[in-house]
C-alpha cells in the first residue's frame, strides 16, 4: 500500500527554474537597450531550446515534461554570447541540449553544465567577446537577485565570488562596474548554484569555486578561462559527490510544517462513536484498587495494551524489555508532542484527562523504578501535571516526535540505529497509551477503543473521535463528514494511504481524513536540489535510494542504510520533482530488513 503525505510544498523545479530565467532576462537589459533586435534573438533561442527539449523528453519519457531548464540554458547562452551571429548561437543551444544534457540521460543526470558546453562550442567556432557583460549599472538588479540563489548551493558560489574579487583586488581592478561586467555575481549566483552539476560539499565546493574564480581573472581574463574552469569544477563536483555517499547522520535542519487543522478549543467537543462509557464506576476507581506490580503488568498484558502512537507494538513487551534492561538509570518519557501536522487528539487528551494520565504514570512507576519521568509537549498552554513529572516544551519541528529524536532532545542521549530505546532503559510511551493503561488496569478489560483525529483537509477542520477497533473507516468518515468520496488513513497526515472501501480501524491508525489527492507529478527529472537529504531526520541519501528502487536494484539500497528510515514522509513532502520518495525508501527498507 503506497503511503504519502497528504500535503506538499508549493514549490517545484519549474518554479525555481522560472525564477532563474527571470533573472537571466534582467541580465539582458543593457544589451537590449543597446540593440533591441537582441530581444528577438533571445526569444528565438529560448523557443528553440524549449522545442528541442520537449521533443527529446517526449521521445525519452513519452510525456510532456517541463522544459524550463532548457529555456534557462538557452537564455544563459543568449546573454553570454551577445554579438555572435544568431545561427552560431542556435547551433550552440542545440549542442548544449544534445551533448551537455540529453547525452547524459536528460535533466538532472548531466554532470556538466549544458550551457557551458554550448558556449565552448561557440567559442571554438566563432569566439566570444570578453568581458561577457557591458559595464552598466543596469546589471545591479540582476546581480542582487542572483545572490538569492546562493541558498541552493552556497559554497562553490561564494567561493567563485571571493576568488574573482581577490583577483580583481590584486590586479587593482576592484570596482563595482568591473564586478558587474566580469559577471562575478552571475557566475556565483546563477551558474555555480546549479545543484545538478555543483557539489554541496562545503570545503571542496568553496575551494574549487575560489580557485576557478581566482585563476579566471588573475592574469589574462578570457572567456575560455572561465568556461573551462566551470567545466572542470563540474567534473570535480561529480567526483566529490560519488565518494560522498555515506549516511550523513541525524539531520541538522529543522523542518517546520504548520498544523493543517486547528486544535479543539472546547474540551467537550469529542465525538464518541462507541457505546462504551469512559467514566469509571466507583468500584473501578484506581485509588481503591490495591494492585501489586505483577497484577498491573498482568492486566496490561492480558488486556493487550498497545502503542497508540502508530507503532502498535505490545506495551507489555516494551515494559518487560525496560524492566530487564541492565541500565542502572531508567526513564519514562511520555510522548505528547504530536508533531504530525494533521493530528490533534493527543493535545486534547492531555488537557481533558490529566488526572487519568497521571494515574497511568503512577501505575507504571509501581512496576518500574524510574529515575525520572518526563513529558514532552510542543505547547504548555493549559497543562496541569504535578511537579513529579518533568514537563518539557520541545522545539516545534518535524519529526521531533520520532522516538530516537525525542530522546536526543529531552534526555540528551543518542540511541544508535541498531539499538532499541527500551533495551537502553528508556520507556517511551505515547500519551494515549498511558491513558489506555489507566483504563485497562482499572477496568480489567481488553483495549478495543481508541481516540483518533478525523479531518476534512478541504475545509481545514478536524474532530477528536473515539472509535471501536474494527469499525469501518468509511462509517467513521460518514458519521463525521457525510458524503465525501476520498478517504485516507494512516499514522498521520504525513503517512497516509488511500483507504479501501471495506478498510477498518486497526491498531496503526491514528488519522482518518478526506482531502483532494496531493499533486505528486512523479517527474523523472530530479534536479538534485538536496531537500530530501538535507531534511531526512536520519540523514539518508534519499535520492540515491529512490533511484535504485526505480531501477529495481533493491538489494543495493542496503549500502545507503535504507533500513534506518523512520517513514516520516519529509522527503515526499519536500521533493521539488513531486516524487513520492518516502514510499520508495519504504520499499527499499522492507526489501533489506
Amino acid at each position: 500500500m503506497k503511503t504519502f503525505p497528504l500535503i506538499r510544498v508549493k514549490w517545484s523545479n519549474e518554479h525555481s527554474m522560472a525564477a532563474v530565467l527571470l533573472v537571466l532576462v534582467l541580465y539582458h537589459l543593457p544589451q537590449w537597450l543597446d540593440k533591441p533586435s537582441g530581444i528577438l534573438s533571445f526569444l528565438l533561442l529560448v523557443a528553440e531550446g524549449l522545442l528541442l527539449d520537449l521533443s527529446l523528453n517526449i521521445l525519452r519519457y513519452h510525456r510532456m515534461w517541463c522544459c524550463v531548464s532548457a529555456a534557462v540554458t538557452a537564455a544563459m547562452i543568449s546573454v553570454l554570447s551577445f554579438g555572435v551571429p544568431l545561427g552560431v548561437r542556435m547551433l550552440g543551444v542545440a549542442i548544449a541540449l544534445l551533448v551537455g544534457k540529453h547525452l547524459w540521460g536528460g535533466t538532472g543526470k548531466n554532470i556538466i553544465n549544458p550551457a557551458m558546453i554550448g558556449l565552448l562550442f561557440i567559442l571554438i567556432v566563432y569566439g566570444i567577446p570578453y568581458p561577457f557583460f557591458p559595464a552598466s549599472f543596469l546589471l545591479i538588479p540582476a546581480a542582487v537577485l542572483s545572490l538569492l540563489f546562493l541558498k541552493i548551493r552556497p559554497f562553490a558560489g561564494i567561493g567563485i565570488i571571493l576568488g574573482m574579487m581577490s583577483a580583481l583586488l590584486i590586479n587593482g581592478d576592484f570596482t563595482l562596474l568591473n564586478l558587474l561586467s566580469y559577471g562575478v555575481f552571475f557566475w556565483g549566483g546563477i551558474v555555480l548554484t546549479d545543484p545538478v552539476t555543483v557539489t554541496s560539499h562545503p570545503v571542496a565546493g568553496s575551494a574549487a569555486g575560489f580557485l576557478v574564480g581566482f585563476a579566471a581573472l588573475l592574469y589574462y581574463p578570457l572567456s575560455v578561462s572561465i568556461i573551462i574552469g566551470i567545466l572542470a569544477l563540474n567534473l570535480f563536483s561529480s567526483a566529490v559527490e560519488s565518494i560522498n555517499d555515506k549516511n550523513i547522520g541525524m539531520q541538522k535542519s529543522k523542518l517546520r510544517i504548520p498544523k493543517q487543522v486547528p486544535y479543539l478549543q472546547d474540551q467537550s467537543q469529542m465525538v464518541d462513536l462507541t457505546d462504551d462509557r469512559l467514566e469509571l464506576s466507583p468500584e473501578e476507581e484506581i485509588d481503591k484498587l490495591e494492585l501489586s506490580a505483577d497484577e498491573i503488568l498482568s492486566r496490561i498484558k492480558n488486556n493487550e495494551v498497545f502503542g497508540m502512537g502508530g507503532a502498535a507494538f505490545s506495551t507489555y513487551q516494551k515494559l518487560m524489555t525496560v524492566l530487564t534492561a541492565r541500565e542502572s538509570q531508567k526513564y519514562l518519557l511520555i510522548n505528547g508532542v504530536e508533531c504530525d501536522p494533521g493530528l490533534i487528539h493527543d493535545y486534547w487528551l492531555l488537557r481533558k484527562y490529566p488526572n487519568e494520565i497521571t494515574k497511568g504514570i503512577e501505575l507504571l512507576c509501581k512496576c518500574i523504578n524510574f529515575s525520572a519521568v518526563h513529558l514532552a509537549v510542543k505547547d504548555l498552554d493549559r497543562l496541569e501535571f504535578s511537579n513529579n513529572i518533568n514537563t518539557h516544551k520541545v522545539l516545534d519541528y518535524y519529526p521531533i516526535g520520532a522516538e530516537k529524536i525525542l530522546i536526543a532532545n529531552v534526555l540528551k542521549k543518542q540511541i544508535e540505529y541498531n539499538q532499541i530505546p527500551a533495551a537502553c532503559g528508556i520507556l517511551v510511551l505515547n500519551v494515549q497509551t498511558i491513558y489506555a493503561i489507566y483504563q485497562a488496569v482499572a477496568r480489567n478489560k481488553p483495549v478495543n477503543t481508541r481516540f483518533l483525529t478525523v479531518a476534512n483537509l478541504k475545509t481545514k477542520s478536524a474532530k477528536v473521535v473515539r472509535v471501536r477497533l474494527g469499525m469501518k473507516l468509511r462509517e467513521v468518515m460518514e458519521a463525521m463528514y457525510p458524503g465525501v468520496i476520498n478517504v485516507f488513513a494512516g499514522g498521520g497526515l504525513m503517512q497516509s494511504y488511500l483507504a479501501e472501501e471495506e478498510a477498518v480501524v486497526d491498531k496503526n491508525i491514528n488519522f482518518i481524513a478526506t482531502s483532494v489527492f496531493p499533486n505528486y507529478k512523479e517527474s523523472p527529472q530530479c534536479s538534485k536540489c538536496g531537500n530530501c537529504v538535507r531534511n531526512c531526520p536520519v540523514g539518508l541519501k534519499v535520492n540515491l535510494i529512490a533511484d535504485l528502487v526505480d531501477q529495481g536494484k533493491l538489494s543495493e539500497t542496503k549500502k545507503y542504510f535504507a533500513f534506518e528510515c523512520i517513514s516520516c514522509g519529509s522527503c515526499s513532502y519536500l521533493c521539488l520533482a513531486g516524487r513520492n520518495l518516502s514510499d520508495r525508501v519504504k520499499t527499499a527498507k522492507e526489501a533489506t530488513k
Binding site: K2, V484, I485, N486, L498, E500, V516, F517
Partner: protein, 141 residues
C-alpha cells in the same frame, strides 16, 4: 456522438473501464481528478496480472453497485467488447477517451440501446491548469 460538455456525467459515480498500470500516470491522474471533484470512481480492468496501488475491479460482478456513467480508456477492439458488456448492465452514458478509439458500429449499438456518448479527455473538465486550458481550446463548455 455528442460534444463533450461539463455536465455530461449526471451521476455521482463513474466506472473507469481500462484503468491501466501500463498507462499508470494518466489513469491515476484521471482517477484523482474524478475523485477530487466528488465523483466516486470504480476502476475496472480485467487483466489479473496488472498491479495497482488502488483497488481495481477485475469483473463487473465484483462492483458494489453498477454506475450509470462510464469512461472508457481502451483501444477500438476492446472498446467494442466493453460497450457490449456495459449495455447489458444498463449503462446510460459513456465517455470515450478519443473518437478514434470507437468504431461506427459500436456507436450505432449505443444509439440503439439509448446510451448517450461523447468523446474527449475528462481532464479537460475535471483537471486543473494546463488541462483546463486544453478544454478551453477544445471548446468544452
Amino acid at each position: 456522438m455528442n460534444k463533450l460538455t461539463k455536465d455530461f456525467f449526471n451521476d455521482s459515480e463513474v466506472l473507469f473501464v481500462g484503468y491501466s498500470s501500463r498507462n499508470g500516470a494518466y489513469s491515476k491522474g484521471v482517477y484523482q481528478a474524478f475523485t477530487n471533484n466528488n465523483l466516486k470512481v470504480y476502476p475496472y480492468n480485467t487483466k489479473e496480472s496488472a498491479s495497482y496501488d488502488i483497488k481495481v475491479y477485475k469483473s463487473l460482478a465484483a462492483l458494489p453497485s453498477m454506475p450509470k456513467n462510464a469512461f472508457i480508456l481502451l483501444n477500438k477492439e476492446n472498446t467494442a467488447k466493453a460497450v457490449k458488456q456495459l449495455i447489458e448492465k444498463g449503462i446510460q452514458k459513456i465517455l470515450f477517451y478519443s473518437a478514434k478509439n470507437v468504431s461506427q458500429e459500436t456507436l450505432e449499438e449505443c444509439k440503439k440501446a439509448g446510451v448517450e456518448t461523447a468523446a474527449g479527455c475528462p481532464m479537460m473538465i475535471y483537471g486543473t491548469g494546463f488541462h483546463k486550458f486544453h478544454g478551453l481550446l477544445a471548446g468544452v463548455k
